[in-house]
């Protein structure tokens, strides 16, 4: 029996559908987002941006711009401490004469209005020396390629390791066993190179933005569109050593992991606030978001995979080239996670030599996006894994079951440490999802369509992808939960004091449900503190990487249990029964066996005071998640147009906390530059200039409201031994296996391998030999 198994079975709230606490605010337009918020005396910051992918500023003159009425400050590289740098390792001066991508800031401007700031930008005179650019991760490693950081990186290879995520030392190379022996023992071996490097943009509806106010020389108040205020604080603190950032957030208009660090915006607003002594707002336009803000990583692999006669991977050898663009801001963490996820998917493989190189290129800096490195690697790796399965004519569903990590397997995670999978076994989940999709019936074999129209012009095929992640237990987080007796009457409010930003997942409400469940109070009586960093909340790293369930749930639950222990102790002299025979009921403590003995919390807590419980989660990576995606595509053989017509997402999330928010996490896998990055979604970059051409929402193609496939889900509810409520977070991974599943389905539909992302009509017609 696990330590959590005794209590919490007959749930009032857990697993039930509850109205989200901010639901009414959202449907009435009252929910506040950053751009709805004003700070008195606030002015506006904008950036002059480089029109070139790689250039040096030869001369810059800001006199005319400074003379414009309403302009408060113009900063160039000459005005900023050159030791203040962005990225890890610190690499890019906040403002630099060396410009490394189209959109790289040349100058920061603060003015009374956005319009005046834009006018001032037009008046800044700059002379550029244009340099050759490195626009592709693979080529950037050549000796003759343009060098982005010659004084810091050799051959544009970014220093491996991000100490926060890899405290034991950098991890970039997955090595174990003996690969040569592994290949010798393999039955089927394939080798190829695949790219997933169109670096699509997660494009949250709300563009990124911040407001910064200087409160004393090195203390700054930040209001931001971040989903993780602590991460913002952490990365901003690297940028300006000695500065202290207090961060507050509002409702965040979509993030998908992408709006977290916001370091470039924070630095711009901070420097302008220092220069003007006014609060400064920097809110990107949609064009800036699409052209100059963080995209997905670029990913290319050159790899050899061997599987044995049972379809189990026996050896993996190769190199993963990761393209970070012009700034690597803790991208090493994504490299570690990518390698770790490869290990989860091929967990039975004893022989690994999977190296990686993180490349700086003259493209828009890549940032974090849902899938976090694992998706970008898997988009390539899965295609080759499946080619090896095809060589042995293995059913991919059977092979995934055999290869995916299970209880007792070891794997290396992003910290470079070998972990043992605990409590998870996804084979039943995979089979349940396959059955619901009718895989056995629909899958006709590799390269075979499931359906051909009578005229032969349209063909359908099915595909299946798998992914998982062990980040659901990452980071150390803490919470206070306080009981505040009502002023009038004998009830109380429960205040969950934890840094929880709402960016769409509903976790503020879900965590309130956990508190309501343990303290046995109505959900409506639970409040949650406003989100923000450690000044008014204890520390927590944000709801990224599916952390919101275990790593936020455990601290809240522990804090409630701490309160319960305290309350039982306080009640002992009054109830005169042992604490283990007490229960919490009706905002009071009651004897289980002598129910007439009851005392309210209000009577137990000294008047005007509150009672505080404390809980924490300590990082562990032993509970990986898993998501399997089944889908069917239809391909028009004349036009080459492919689309997904039906899909099913399979998951075992453990105990369901909230069924509707879980379902929408699964549906969310269609968005955030995931599934459609295999069909049509891409950042189109003009080759010679390095300029992003898909810089508005007309050019940047995505799926309109009325073009969604039919969607189903298959959800198992194993009771995992993870934390009090036996669940595991899954939001990170729900879209991460969609892209390779689409490629596989297209290949099966048309009977020819398609491996070029995205599989646009041109790509498909080429594969069919029609172009």
């Amino acid at each position: 029996m696990s330590k959590y198994e005794r209590r919490y079975t007959d749930y009032k709230y857990i697993g039930k559908r509850n109205t989200r606490k901010d639901a009414r605010d959202i449907v009435t337009g009252r929910a506040v987002f950053l751009d709805d918020f004003l700070v008195p005396n606030m002015i506006y910051g904008r950036m002059l941006r480089s029109p070139y992918a790689h250039a040096m500023i030869k001369d810059i003159n800001t006199e005319k711009a400074k003379a414009l009425k309403g302009v408060h400050a113009i900063l160039t590289y000459k005005d900023v401490n050159p030791d203040w740098k962005l990225g890890w390792p610190p690499q890019k001066k906040i403002l630099d004469e060396h410009l490394r991508y189209v959109g790289d800031p040349v100058a920061f401007v603060a003015a009374d209005t956005v319009e005046i700031a834009n006018e001032a930008i037009e008046l800044i005179e700059v002379e550029y020396e244009i340099l050759p650019a490195a626009l592709n991760g693979w080529d950037a490693g050549r000796e003759d390629a343009a060098q982005l950081y010659p004084e810091l990186f050799e051959r544009n290879v970014v220093t491996p390791g991000f100490p926060v995520f890899q405290p034991e030392g950098p991890f970039w190379h997955l090595e174990k066993g003996d690969v040569e022996k592994g290949f010798a023992e393999s039955e089927y071996i394939i080798e190829d190179r695949v790219e997933y490097n169109k670096m699509p943009n997660p494009n949250a509806p709300e563009p990124p933005g911040v407001i910064v106010k200087q409160e004393s020389p090195m203390n700054f108040k930040v209001w931001a569109t971040t989903q993780g205020s602590m991460i913002l604080k952490q990365l901003a603190s690297f940028g300006i050593p000695g500065a202290n950032f207090k961060v507050e957030t509002f409702n965040v208009g979509g993030s998908y992991g992408n709006k977290q660090m916001l370091t470039g915006l924070v630095m711009c607003a901070t420097l302008l606030a220092m220069a003007t002594k006014r609060p400064v707002k920097v809110f990107y336009t949609k064009t800036e978001q699409l052209q100059c803000y963080e995209n997905r990583l670029g990913s290319q692999i050159s790899i050899k995979i061997g599987v044995d006669k049972e379809g189990i991977v026996n050896a993996v050898k190769g190199k993963w080239v990761v393209e970070a663009g012009a700034l690597s801001n803790a991208t090493q963490g994504q490299v570690g996670v990518g390698l770790g996820e490869a290990n989860l998917i091929m967990a039975k493989c004893p022989n690994w030599d999977l190296d990686s190189e993180l490349m700086a290129t003259n493209r828009t800096p890549a940032g974090v996006a849902r899938g976090y490195g694992g998706m970008e690697l898997n988009a390539c790796l899965n295609l080759l894994f499946c080619r090896a399965l095809e060589a042995g004519n293995f059913d991919p569903v059977d092979a995934y079951k055999k290869n995916y990590v299970s209880h007792g397997d070891t794997f290396v995670w992003r910290d470079g440490i070998t972990w043992t999978a605990h409590t998870m076994d996804f084979r039943n989940m995979i089979q349940a999802a396959a059955d619901k999709f009718r895989w056995k019936e629909r899958w006709q074999g590799w390269g075979k369509p499931t359906w051909i129209s009578e005229d032969g012009k349209r063909r359908r095929g099915v595909g299946v992808g798998i992914i998982g992640n062990a980040d659901a237990g990452e980071d150390n987080n803490e919470a206070y939960v306080r009981i505040m007796p009502d002023m009038v009457g004998n009830e109380a409010r429960v205040i969950v004091q934890m840094d929880i930003t709402e960016s769409g997942m509903g976790q503020r409400s879900n965590l309130a449900k956990m508190a309501a469940e343990i303290l046995n109070v109505p959900y409506e009586k639970v409040d949650i503190s406003d989100p923000g960093t450690g000044e008014h909340n204890p520390n927590a790293l944000g709801l990224c990487g599916s952390r919101g369930t275990i790593t936020y749930g455990r601290p809240v639950c522990e804090a409630c249990e701490d309160l319960r222990t305290q309350l039982f102790k306080l009640a002992e002299p009054c109830l005169r029964v042992p604490p283990d025979t007490m229960e919490l009921v009706d905002f009071g403590v009651r004897s289980l066996h002598r129910p007439e003995r009851f005392i309210t919390w209000k009577e137990l807590i000294p008047k005007e005071l509150t009672l505080t419980g404390y809980g924490k989660h300590v990082e562990t990576f032993g509970s990986p998640s898993c998501c399997i995606i089944f889908l069917e595509v239809e391909v028009d053989m004349d036009t080459g147009k492919a689309d997904v017509i039906d899909m099913l997402s399979g998951i075992d999330a453990g105990q369901i906390i909230d069924p509707a928010s879980l379902e929408m996490q699964l549906q969310g896998g269609i968005g955030s530059a995931s599934m459609d990055s295999a069909l049509f979604e891409e950042n189109v970059v003009d080759g010679p200039t390095g300029r992003v051409m898909t810089y508005n929402m007309i050019e940047y193609k995505w799926r309109p409201f009325n073009q969604f496939p039919s969607f189903d889900s298959s959800i198992l509810e194993s009771q995992f031994d993870t934390f009090q409520f036996k669940a595991v977070g899954v939001g990170e991974i729900t879209g991460a296996a969609t892209a390779p599943a689409v490629m596989q389905a297209i290949s099966n539909a048309i009977g020819t391998q398609v491996s070029e992302y995205p599989a646009t009509p041109n790509v498909i017609l080429k594969a069919l030999g029609k172009l």
Partner: protein
């Protein structure tokens, strides 16, 4: 032609603005979205793409769903505008049935695009209370939602349409 002032009715209340470039006046280039958000404090509709392609700024003008970032306020003289803030009954606090259905069906995730989606839906259902799935999809094809609330939005609108159908019988 010179326009000196502009009068619009927003959520039942009439506002008159002076047009010009002096401090406090509405400049000719000001969009309806900016006026609603910046001057009237009606921040429910959002300015996201600012080019009419995301639908986050949708309001209803004379019965039609419009993207308010694509309209100049000076061109809205005499128009009757409803924003998301105008749907709830101010006296009773009763929500519009669409808003209630969005709550009941959990038809949002981050909620940033939701006011625009609700206003497009309102304009549709006011004209066509029992639309088909295709008509709903067509009406909402200009509303961008990246979190994926689409499936739940369809369910919510179907609930409202089903209630209208039941009422007719």
């Amino acid at each position: 032609m010179t326009i000196d002032d502009v009068a619009v009715t927003v959520n039942g209340r009439e506002y008159e603005f002076s047009v010009g470039t002096r401090f406090g006046q509405i400049p000719p280039a000001e969009t309806l979205a900016e006026t609603l958000r910046g001057r009237l404090g009606l921040t429910g509709s959002k300015i996201a793409c600012n080019e009419g392609s995301c639908g986050c700024c949708t309001v209803i003008m004379n019965g039609e769903a419009v993207t308010s970032c694509m309209l100049l306020t000076v061109d809205c003289d005499g128009r009757d505008i409803t924003t998301i803030e105008g749907l709830e009954d101010p006296a009773t606090g009763r929500l519009d049935p669409i808003q209630q259905a969005f709550i009941d069906r959990y038809a949002f995730q981050c909620g940033y695009c939701t006011p625009g989606i609700i206003m497009t839906t309102k304009a549709l259902l006011d004209k066509n209370p029992i639309p088909t799935q295709e008509q709903i999809g067509e009406a909402l094809s200009g509303n961008y939602c990246r979190c994926i609330s689409q499936y739940h939005v369809f369910e919510a609108i179907k609930d409202v349409a089903d209630a209208a159908r039941a009422e007719r019988r």
